[in-house]
Amino acid sequence: MTQFQVILRKGEASRSLEIMEDDGLLICATGPDEFWVFSEQHDAQGVETVLGRMIGETASLFDQSHGRVVLRIEGPRTIEVLAKGSPLDFDALPVKGAAHTVIEHIPVLISRREAAGPYDVSVPRSYAASFIAWLEEAI
């Protein structure tokens, strides 16, 4: 999955663009100046082109695709399992929204693809093996 970290330039903090799905991209606000962009359809070059059209010079783009491993977790026990490692209220995450948090000491970016899941967990590459080991044990 292609993932981009988008940081708004000075003075551009926009509250209106919280979650947007368009042209093969899912764009989620993840901080006061920051968005993450997910795309299963486009590669890095493609995402840059589409984003360039959308945001022009208002932000800087950073390709984080190689730095993260995305685990897609689905099923009725998803929240129960994730809750073994994190106090976050996963049910309160907006649909299509994403949030930075920590699961069992590992920094992750969680996005809720649909209301009933699946949840995508974007884990920094170096932690991936540890996270998967934890997940298998928790299931």
Binding site: R9, S60, F62, Q64, R68, D89, I106, S126, S130, W134
Partner: protein
């Protein structure tokens, strides 16, 4: 197998259709599902279950709940051994094995009960006054001896093999206790629409109701509670956790609890044994009930003496009659129900009330067969391993008995209301401590609020539930239909903190059963000036056992207040702290144990390192190759080979763990100028430069490389250890100090795999692997930056050198890391390319005098490290002003130098100190210390980097390196810090 002599023919909630068996101290007994170990032992006529902590007095089952002070047993074997488990909380399963503690050779015949005879030598605080001479004997003889003689259970020395879990949950209202108050509160709050979590430590709902004969809405308490629980379970916004103890309340309405998931099942179950919960809520309803306290008289600790409330729980909940000839001794009306229930179960009951006949409301409750004595106390108990007879005072009447039920009143369980600092107040009317101001987020109902009437409790619970829901913004108007419970006479109590000493020996009247603290000990504490509650607790150890004084605290405060002639409100209370009941470490740790205790970070080339024999070291959370031993090589041989290979030909090391940060935006260079001591905004594109960052106090914080990739595009590396700290620092500077700068940056440590290719053959080898980049010296000089591909993968190449050799750092997006690494290894095969680890890397950077972590210890300035020349005078940067303060200048500053041993075969270690003469002692003899020391294959002797007072002026001087802890000293010569290629020709060629 003995018969269940005390099992009543009918009654109780146990499943009489099934018979199971268990073992206690090697003997097999019968029981039923639903029994606790305590009820099953009592059913089989066993009262004696343990020996007391200090005096090894025989002790029996005292209660029916978690507050049990005496009947502590050890369950399990090997790594599963669990000592100090209250028998009252163990659910019996077929095949359960339990054993008593703290006795040898057996429970009945315990040799250490000789301690009882030596009692006069072991009063409270004896270790402050005795066993003091000779001083050395304390640690060698007395303390080990005392330690072995005292104590309860024994820990296993094996690892716990059971599986544990942790879990988190959120709710709007947390209700602790599924008794009548808690069930009502849950229903009302849930009807109002909030999310409710109801937690109870018992397997079945109902709280104390399951142990009472009273009816609610015409049904037994247990049946009513079961019906309520069914109704609640059907509601989507209600969650019920049973067998769960809420052990602590923490700031911000966070609670900790332990759920006993598999303890009541045999150990082979697939479920986790226990689950540690963290609960986040908005409102707390404390419906945890109240705990009965005993009366204090000589012999009140004998087996066969138990709490009155507990005795009737055994009859009503378990169908067990703990004795046939019963004396009930009380100062309040509640114990009359015990006299009634035991009498109806077939016992001969005599009731002894300390109050005058007129004060009593409950006489009508008793059958005529119960003999009553008023204004009398128990003064003596006869019988050593079991009660046989009691003597009353002042009448002198003797009564033969096999069970004594005592009641000194009820103490509301306030723990969860007071863990975060609220202090309870003494309430004369209920003779108990209550929480008058629990705060906006907490309420109490029922026994926990000192409400002992059942109808009032149901009303209070309902009201609390509604109020909690309203506080969450959900109100429901309208009345609730309250259930109707049997009316009981009003509860009246007359405090009796201890039977007066004239009638009952103070040194035999136990206040804290578990820690063997008597009235005499409290009298001693008061005489010695330790009468305040906080002092008396520590002086006598009252309240410090695993039961945390649940049965003892209030009686003790009453006794202390009497001894000092002050009201209880002035005697003080001690502080309640989590945990309310002991919890296994496993339940707190969950999965985080062993290798899963912390996450492990691995680079993209980790598998290659593993497959090629790397021995790993931990650098923070990272696993890094330390060295790659070949057959028969030890550490020293491998490192020597690796270093020589790099210096003579070529080697490669994985440096992916470096912190990496990418910066964009027109002010990116300006931002870096403010962070580093040297300037970057005017650096040419496609160039790199070494940079040093200071802290605001002028000390060196970190060092690394800054590269310019474009007009408004920079890429920096920082040390592995400081990656997070530097990023945090940069975010602070941007968000707090300079938000006006147009710069955007983020961490890309994970995004790029990185490897350093170093040695005289580095250019040749890399040229074979790289496409699209010219590597000749004129095209790609020292500190150049370029982009190309290796095997189709994009790479960024930086000509920088940590090792001092001709070197290139190759960065590629992490997904290509392993492929690029292997491509370079293949390209270098003909030149004998050698993978090297962090130790070889450390040796080589030390040979070059490059500073690293040990030199950047937070006490060194750039000037100390010989980098003062890098500090710009033309710009503002973090730390500039504090670095130039007068206190950081002068001859006393420790400066970076190199050291070599005078005798070339000698060694020295990191942390050793530099002195002029060995043998001169004093405060100020150290001239400095060694920060790094390694064996250098290049020099063929040990070398070191050290911080030495006025070091730069002392090259050529001979000093002594001393390590007194290791009894070592070595002569060294002070030299410059660069040992290999001092002019840097290899790097720049």
């Amino acid at each position: 197998m003995s018969r269940q002599t005390n099992r009543l023919p009918e009654g109780g909630l146990v499943d009489r259709t099934q018979v199971i068996s268990f073992t206690f101290d090697g003997r097999k007994f019968k029981a039923h599902p639903g029994d606790t170990l305590a009820s099953a032992l009592l059913a089989n006529g066993i009262h004696l279950t343990g020996r007391s902590f200090k005096y090894h007095r025989p002790r029996g089952i005292y209660t029916a709940g978690a507050e049990e002070p005496n009947a502590l047993v050890t369950l399990g074997n090997g790594g599963r051994t669990e000592p100090n488990t209250p028998a009252t909380m163990v659910e019996v399963y077929d095949g359960l094995k339990a054993r008593s503690q703290n006795r040898w050779p057996s429970l009945k015949f315990d040799l250490l009960s000789v301690n009882s005879l030596l009692k006069p030598f072991f009063p409270a605080g004896f270790y402050y006054k005795t066993f003091m001479w000779p001083r050395s004997f304390w640690y060698r003889l007395y303390e080990p001896m005392i330690r072995r003689a005292a104590g309860l259970g024994t820990l296993a020395n094996e690892s716990d093999p059971d599986r544990y879990e942790t879990a988190h949950t959120q709710c709007d209202v947390l209700v602790v206790g599924a008794g009548p108050a808690g069930l009502m509160a849950t229903r009302e709050a849930a009807r109002a629409g909030v999310n409710v979590l109801l937690v109870d430590e018992q397997p079945l709902p109902g709280g104390h109701l399951t142990g009472e004969a009273d009816k609610v809405d015409g049904k037994s308490g247990a049946a009513w509670a079961a019906g309520m629980a069914d109704e609640l379970r059907a509601m989507e916004n209600v969650c019920i956790l049973s067998r769960t103890t809420v052990y602590g309340r923490y700031d911000g309405m966070t609670f900790g609890a332990v759920e006993r998931v598999g303890d009541h099942l045999s150990p082979d179950s697939a479920l986790p044994r226990q689950r540690g919960w963290t609960i986040q809520t908005r409102q707390l309803i404390n419906a945890a009930g109240a705990i009965e306290r005993p009366l204090v008289f000589a012999g009140n600790d004998r087996p066969g003496v138990m709490l009155a409330g507990a005795a009737r729980v055994y009859v009503n909940r378990y169908g067990v009659l703990p004795g046939r000839n019963v004396v009930v001794f009380t100062n309040n009306d509640d114990a009359y129900r015990t006299a009634r229930d035991l009498s109806q179960a077939g016992a001969n009951v005599t009731l002894v009330d300390s109050r005058a006949k007129e004060k009593v409301h409950s006489r009508g409750v008793l059958p005529a067969s119960v003999e009553m004595h008023f204004e009398q106390y128990i003064s003596k108990v006869k019988g050593r391993s079991h009660v046989g007879r009691v003597t009353l005072a002042p009448s002198g009447t003797e009564i033969a008995c096999d069970l004594v039920c005592v009641s000194g009143g009820w103490t509301p369980s306030l723990h969860l209301l007071s863990h975060v600092g609220h202090r309870p107040e003494w309430d004369e009317a209920s003779t108990s401590f209550v929480m008058k101001e629990p705060g906006d987020e907490a309420r109490a109902a029922g026994g926990a609020a000192a409400t002992f009437d059942l109808n009032e409790t149901l009303r209070e619970g309902s009201k609390a539930g509604k109020a909690a829901a309203e506080a969450c913004g959900h109100g429901i108007p309208g009345k609730t239909n309250l259930p109707k419970a049997d009316d009981l006479p009003a509860y009246h109590i007359e405090p009796l903190w201890r039977v007066p000493s004239a009638m009952s020996r103070a040194d035999g009247s136990f206040v804290d059963l578990q820690n063997d603290v008597t009235v005499a000990d409290l009298e001693l504490a008061t005489r010695e000036g330790f009468g305040h509650a906080e002092h008396a607790k520590r002086y006598t150890t009252l309240g410090m056992a695993t039961d945390q004084g649940k049965l003892a605290n209030v009686n003790a405060l009453g006794i202390l207040s009497q001894l000092q002639g002050r009201p209880i409100s002035e005697t003080g209370t001690t502080t309640f702290r989590p945990l309310t009941a002991p919890a296994a470490f496993g339940a707190i740790a969950g999965q985080a144990r062993g290798s899963a205790f912390r996450p492990i970070r691995r680079s993209a080339m980790h598998l290659w390192h593993e497959n090629h024999g790397a021995v790993f070291t931990q650098a923070g959370l990272w696993l890094r190759p330390y060295f790659y031993p070949r057959e028969d090589e030890d550490f020293a041989a491998a490192v020597k080979r690796e270093v020589l290979a790099v210096r003579s030909s070529i080697g490669m090391v994985d440096v992916s763990t470096l912190g990496k940060i990418e910066l964009k935006g027109p002010d990116a260079g300006n931002f870096l100028d403010r962070l580093y001591i040297n300037a970057f905004s005017k650096m040419k594109v496609h160039r790199a430069r070494y940079g040093v960052m200071l802290r605001e106090d002028g000390m060196v914080f970190d060092d690394g490389t800054v590269s310019r990739l474009g007009e408004s595009h920079y890429f920096i590396t920082v040390t592995t250890a400081n990656a997070s700290a530097v990023m945090q620092h940069m975010e602070f500077c941007h968000q707090v100090h300079w938000p006006h700068l147009d710069v955007q940056f983020c961490t890309v440590s994970e995004t790029w795999a990185a490897m350093a290719v170093a040695g005289p053959k580095a250019r040749d080898v890399l040229a074979r692997a790289v496409n699209g980049l010219h590597l000749e010296n004129h095209a790609f000089p020292f500190m150049a930056v370029g982009e190309g591909t290796i095997g189709g993968a994009p790479v960024r190449v930086f000509r920088i050198s940590f090792s001092g050799e001709l070197a290139y750092e190759v960065y590629t997006p992490a997904g290509y890391g392993a492929d690029v690494w292997e491509a370079i290894m293949a390209a270098g095969e003909s030149d004998g390319i050698t993978a090297y680890g962090t130790e070889a890397m450390t040796v080589m950077r030390t040979e070059k005098g490059h500073v690293a972590g040990p030199e950047l210890d937070g006490r060194t300035t750039a000037a100390d490290l010989g980098l003062g020349g890098m500090m710009s005078v033309r710009k503002n940067f973090i730390g500039r002003w504090m670095a130039s303060r007068s206190g950081l200048e002068g001859q006393d500053r420790l400066q970076l130098v190199g050291l070599k041993p005078v005798r070339s075969d000698e060694t020295f270690r990191m942390g050793a100190h530099l002195v002029k003469d060995i043998g001169v002692t004093g405060v100020d003899v150290s001239h400095g210390h060694i920060s790094t020391s390694v064996y250098s294959p290049t020099c063929d002797h040990f070398i070191g980097l050290a911080m030495l007072r006025n070091g730069r002026e002392r090259h050529g001087e001979t000093l002594q390196v001393v390590s007194p802890l290791h009894d070592e000293s070595v002569s060294v010569e002070v030299v410059g810090p660069v040992f290999s290629d001092p002019d840097g020709e290899k790097m720049r060629g």
